[in-house]
Symmetry: C2
Subunit: 407 residues, 2 copies
């Protein structure tokens, strides 16, 4: 008998019918002999509805009060889920973040979990009950309701699994696992049985939006066995686990694509210390997130500095950069918002030379020009013209042996 | 400077526009130098929507979980109200019943308030904030969310006023006060400036649905100065106060009507001890509420027993009564669901003889036959044929000098 934390997102609890389906799935796990803690999000669309309601009153609603408002979304779902479980004869009890006590800091709208009291939940489990916990929310030291920010329910589930020392944390979503690439881009993409935390982190940050990135960090830190599954069809899903568990490591686990990118370059900046911060300082001050950063050494004591931002921030970033460049007497500012990022990810590349060169050769063979390169220990990303992204992804997927075996 | 508790019902916070209007009204009270605690209900329709949602899952939702669900209704309103106040530059802080700590017993869906911690609220008021509290909800000793049942927000407001030792508890509704009679029935009806708790209790139970009856009892017990006002138009409203405050007591304060009644009679029951309980026991067991009860002594060792119930319970009550009558060997069972109740209420009648006779004379002069009579210290109720109810109410309103003075 195992203790399992099951997390169901907004789509999985988006209607009364789906909540009933969740109840059936929980009851099945119980019949298999497991103790179950269920973490649920707000019904799909509900959080957006509540935010819109607040914004009709104030453009920038008081953050403390916005949290009080948003927390009702999951509170509705925990009650309905518990009602569904009890109707089917399964004893259940619901808890808000405040009731569990999921203690967070006081950063409203983006709070971080500090501590979870698991005693009450253990007592309920021992009494044969399914415990239904509201995701996304907690309470600070002074009793104020807080929320964890978008995707926070995944983090709640993992944090609960860690606090309860659960055997597995199952994240139910609308996909049936983690894929080697986006199946809409690469038709030959296939589901991975296993992926390491490190690979999942790189994939998540590269645009494979299966799991919220903070929850993966949390799972790695507390060594929580994490599994991504579909709430709509049965299957083993993908197990996300620490590296040691993976006996046979594939070279590359996946190819990811991200079209939501734009590139900005400052040309001919005096190559002196402090340049990077003078360029990126005003960008950060405007709350624009920077993704890749590349600096090339130039010939005449100047350098070229390039970085990428979310495409929606492109115009804003370009304006800021032009002012900064003028102050620094840079030669010119260039930008391109028709680019995309293509990456290969895999812990296997650490110990294998030649991954980068095989990647570049493959792209060259397709006549795809590389505009920018950035690497980490287990990832290589290149920026290419947007129009080549699908072609490049498919070529790399094949080149690294990821294509699904023909049945 | 006074401390005022203002309570706004579902209609008064039924939309974003109305919540903004509530904020304006609160801010006006603050400008007049008062400290304000605001108690709000769920937005109109929201509680019914949530109940319907639960019932699509289970016919009889688990009571504990239904409370978790329903409590979200007021939680939405407190957040939106606080957001509206802060947008207008008025510092505000919202509290759920659990956060205040409004301690109740554990009777889910109909809990009773046991204790309120006012310390936190006093601290916020001292810091210059408006405190916005969710009505209708509380928390039990073990931290379970509870609700007080329909109309519970009035009780929350009065209980808070008592705990805070507020100078006045203002209940904002869609009427501008308590009237001498229902203006739709008696056009000459006028607003009362003052009414005693006792009269208000009689009026509330007789169908003048301005205030929830438990809240009036609470106000009387803790001597809370209670005022009913309109949230849509300005005016002094009606002050509900203890008897001593009323210097000049009118004979009669109001004439009330209630058409939601049906009458049942058991004829020729053996006049022995225990008869009443043998008749009413099965009725109570079926959760049917009984209003008036009258028993007449008969001639031949038998008695006639008559009582009234809500008209919606008439058929059910008649079925039960026929069975009970057969067992008791009663002569017959009669029923009438085309009756109505007409009452005059006033603490003045205690010290004045002749109220009853003037009432009966007035009805006789209009050829209205009295079918049943019941009296309390400050009330006389008669049952008449439904068709006479408007005529009777207007005649009594005039006879007791309640008609509005012609301007």
């Amino acid at each position: 008998m195992a203790l399992i934390v099951q997390k169901y997102g907004g789509t999985s609890v988006g209607s009364v019918e789906r909540i009933n389906a969740v109840a059936q799935r929980v009851i099945r796990a119980r019949r298999e002999g497991h103790d179950v803690v269920v973490v649920v999000s707000a019904m799909s669309g509900e959080t957006d509805r509540l935010i819109a309601l607040a914004k009709t009153i104030a453009d920038r609603p008081a953050p403390r009060e916005l949290d009080v408002l948003l927390a009702t979304g999951e509170q509705v779902t925990i009650a309905l889920t518990a009602i569904a479980l009890e109707k089917h004869g399964c004893p259940a009890v619901s808890y808000t973040g405040q009731q569990v006590r999921i203690l967070t800091d006081s950063a409203h709208n983006k709070a971080r979990i500090m501590k979870i009291d698991a005693a009450v939940l253990h007592r309920d489990l021992k009494a044969g009950k399914v415990v239904v916990v509201a995701g996304f929310q907690g309470v600070d030291e002074r009793g104020n309701i807080t929320t964890l920010g978008r995707g926070g329910s995944d983090t709640t589930a993992v944090a609960l699994a860690a606090a309860l020392k659960a055997d597995e944390c199952q994240i139910y979503t609308d996909v049936d696992g983690v894929y080697t690439s986006d199946p809409r881009v690469v038709p030959a993409a296939h589901r991975l049985d296993k992926v390491t935390f490190e690979e999942m982190l790189e994939m998540a940050s590269l645009g494979a939006k299966v799991l919220q990135i903070r929850s993966v960090e949390f799972a790695r830190k507390y060594n929580v066995r994490l599994r991504v599954l579909s709430s709509f069809k049965d299957g083993p899903g993908t197990l996300i686990t620490s590296e040691e568990d993976s006996m046979e490591e594939p070279l590359i686990s996946g190819v990811t694509t991200n079209k939501n990118e734009a590139k900005l370059t400052v040309l001919g900046v005096p190559d002196k210390p402090g340049i990077a911060s003078r360029i990126l300082g005003p960008i950060a001050a405007a709350n624009i997130e920077v993704d890749m950063i590349v600096q090339n050494v130039g010939a005449d004591g100047t350098t070229d500095f390039t970085f990428t931002v979310n495409r929606t921030d492109y115009d804003h970033a370009l304006d800021i950069l032009k002012k900064a460049a003028a102050e620094m007497k840079a030669r010119a500012v260039e930008g391109d918002n028709k680019i995309a990022k293509l990456s290969v990810v895999g812990v296997g590349m650490r110990s294998h030379a030649g991954i980068a060169s095989r990647m570049f050769e493959t792209l060259a063979a397709e006549n795809i020009n590389i505009r920018m390169i950035s690497t980490s220990e287990i990832k290589i990303s290149v920026v290419v013209d947007e129009k080549y992204i699908e072609l490049g992804a498919r070529a790399l997927h094949t080149a690294f042996g990821l294509d699904r075996a023909v049945d």
